[in-house]
C-alpha cells in the first residue's frame, strides 16, 4: 500500500467513524483540527485502523503520533511490502 492509499483508507475510516463524509485528511492534519475528533475517538480510530489494515501499534507510538502523516508512515512500515 502506498502512502496515498493508506491516507485514503484513513479518510474513509474516519468518515465512517465520525459520520462526516466531508472530512478530508492530509499528511499534516492534526486531531484537534477535525471537528468532533476527541480523545476517545482517537483511540477508536486507532483500533479501527488496526482491525481494518491488520497492523498493531505499540503503546508509545500511539501517544507520540504528532499528526496523521506520522500514523500513515508508521502503518506503511508495519505493512508487508506489496
Amino acid at each position: 500500500m502506498t502512502e496515498a492509499e493508506i491516507l485514503g483508507a484513513f479518510t474513509r475510516i474516519l468518515r465512517d467513524l465520525l459520520g462526516d463524509q466531508s472530512i478530508v485528511l492530509t499528511m499534516d492534519t492534526r486531531r484537534e483540527e477535525v471537528p468532533n475528533w476527541d480523545s476517545f475517538g482517537y483511540v477508536t480510530f486507532i483500533v479501527a485502523v488496526e482491525i481494518e489494515l491488520g497492523v498493531n501499534f505499540g503503546i508509545a507510538e500511539v501517544e507520540s503520533f504528532a499528526n496523521v502523516g506520522a500514523i500513515v508512515r508508521r502503518t506503511e512500515a508495519l505493512l508487508p511490502p506489496s
Partner: protein, 655 residues
Amino acid sequence: MTSQPDRPTLPPSRDMRWPRSLEWLPVPEDFRGGLQAAVDTPDPSGRYEKLAALAGSRLGYLQWLQLERALAAGPVADHPGFMPLRLAILSASTADHLAPAIRVAGLRHRCLIGTHVGGYGQYRQEVLDPASSLHRFAPQAVLFSLTAREILARTALSASAAEVDASVAATIEELRKLWRKVREDFGAMVIQQTFLNVAEPLFGGFERSVPGAPLEVVSLLNERLAEAAAAEGVSLLDLARAADRDGLERWFDISKWLQAKIEVALQAAPAYGELVARILGAQRGLSRKCLVLDLDNTLWGGVIGDDGMDGIVLGEGSALGEAHLMLQRYARQLGERGVILAVCSKNDSATAEAVFREHPEMLLKRGDIAAFVANWDDKAVNLKRIATQLNIGLDSLVFVDDNPTERAWIRHALPMVAVPELPTDPAQYVRCLALAGYFEAVAFTADDRQRGEQYAANASREASLQSSESLDDFLRGLAMSTEFGPVQSVDLARVTQLINKTNQFNPTTRRRSADEVAAFIASDRSIALQFRLVDRFGDNGLVSVVLLRPEAPGSDVFDIDTWVMSCRVFGRQLELEAMNAAVHAARALGARVLQADYIPTPKNSVVSQLYATLGFTQAAETAQIVGATRWTLQLEDFRDLDTHILRGALSHDRS
C-alpha cells in the same frame, strides 16, 4: 490485506483480536446500500425494520458503528414490534463504546433500548444520590460493569484464606446493597457483569494454593458473585466465562486499558452488546422457544432417500458420524431444558421417521420431536405449519439447516425465524448453535423440565379430540382438574417467566418483573392467583396467572392488571375456571366491579373477545391506548361459569 480500501473488510475468523461470538450471523449482501435504504425510509417503523435486518447480519467494526449512528438519528419512540426499554450502564471503567453496542444488539433482539451511561467510576454515587442523573433517567434495567481492581488493591498477596474470604464478602455485601437499592428505587431489573480476571500468574502451577494471589482472589470473587446473584434474583452477564471460552485477549486489550481505561476491548463491544441484549430479551420473554432441525447432512451425514438406512453416516466409529451425533445430543439436552424440538425436512415422511425408530445410533427418538414435518413442500410453508401445530409464533423458531440455499430462502421468506449460518464442518455445528445464544434463559423451572412430555401429551390429546364425537365429549373425557391458589414467593420465578413469555392469551401484554409480582403478593388488597391443570394425559404444570388490584386505593372497582394463560391449554375451559376463582377472590376483598382492558398486539387477537364471552360488557369509556377496549363486570350479576374441570386447592410441595 485488501488492495481495495473501499471494500468493507470483515474480521478474519483467525484474527485473535476479534471475539468469535458473532460468527453465526450471515454476512450482509450489500451493507452500504441497505443502510442507505434504511436511512431513506421516511416511516420510522419501516426504518427500524430495515435497521433490525442489518443488525441481524455479521458486521465489521466500522459497519456497526455506522448502523448505530443511523439508529441514534431516529426519534426514540415506541414502534410496533419492538419492545422499548431504558437501560442504565454503571461502570468503573470507560463504557462509552458499550452503550452503542447494546443498542445495536437490542435491535437484533427487537428491543429499542434507550441508554444512560453513568459517570466514569461514579456508580455508587449514581445509585445512592437521589438527585443523580440515574434517578432522573429512571431505568428499567441497570447493568453493573465493574472491574476487580479495587478489591485487588486492598488484598495483600500474603493474605490468609480467611482474610481473602472477608475481603470478597465485603465486596459482595456492598454490591448486594446497591442491587437492592436499585430495585427499591426503580423496580429495575439488575444485571451484574462477572469480573474479568486480567491478572497474570505469579506462581504458575502453585497459584491455586495461594489464596491472596490476584488470579485466585478474582476467581473466588466471581464464585461468590454468582451465588449472591442467584440468591437475589440478579442476572449475570458472564463476561469471565466468555473470556474463558474465547481467550482473554479477545475481550481485554491491555494497551487500550493503559491508553483510555477501557476494560472491555473496543473490538469486543459488538459481542458484549449481544450478551446484554440476550439477557434483556430473555427477561422480556423474547428468547426463542423451538429448535427446528433439518435431517440430511444435519442430524446425520448423507441423504437417507439416496443412501438408505445403512448408508447414512451416524454414530460412534466415524468422526463425521460422531459430529452429527453431537448435534443430536445437544438438541436433546436443549429439549431437557424446555426447548421444543421439531423436524423440517425435504424427505418422504415414512422414510425419515423410520430412521428415528430403527437406526440403532439415533440419540433423538421420535417421541423427542413435538412436530415432525417431512415432505417435498417449500420449507417456509412447513415452518409455518410447525408454528401453527405447536401454537407458537414464527419468531419463536430457530431453523438449523446445512444447506445455504434453504437458509437464505428462509431468511428472505420468513425474516422472523432465526437461521444460524452453520459452518461447513459438522464438527462446528454445536459450537455455532451454542454461540448464537437463541435460548438464553433467566430461570430453569419445574415446568421447563417437563415441557417435552407436555408437548408429547398434547399430541395425544389432539388424537383424542379427533376420535371424540363432540367437543363436549372430548373435554369430559379428558378428566380435567385445576389446582389453584395464591402465588407465593417460592413461585415467583415461574410466575414471572409465564407472564413475560406469554404473548397470545395476554389481553394487556404488560410485562412484570419478579419484584412487581412480589408487590401483588405482599399487599392484602391485591390478588395474585396461579392455576395448574391436570388431565388424564398428564400434568400441564403452571398454566395461568391472574393479577388483580383496586383501580385506586380503597376502590371497590378491581382492575385485571394481568392475565396470562399458556397456549398449551387453549380451548380447555380453564379461562372460565380462572374467572370463577378471580371473582371469588375479588368478592372476598369487597370488590363490586371487575374492570379489564384488551390492548391489541400482533399476537393476542385470540383474546380480543375474551371478556365478551365471560359476560363482561364493553364500557363506554375506552382505555387510553388506540385500538384498546375496556370491559366491566358487575359482580352481583355474576354466576359461576360451568366447565368440565374439577377444582382443587394447590398443594405447595409439588412444585
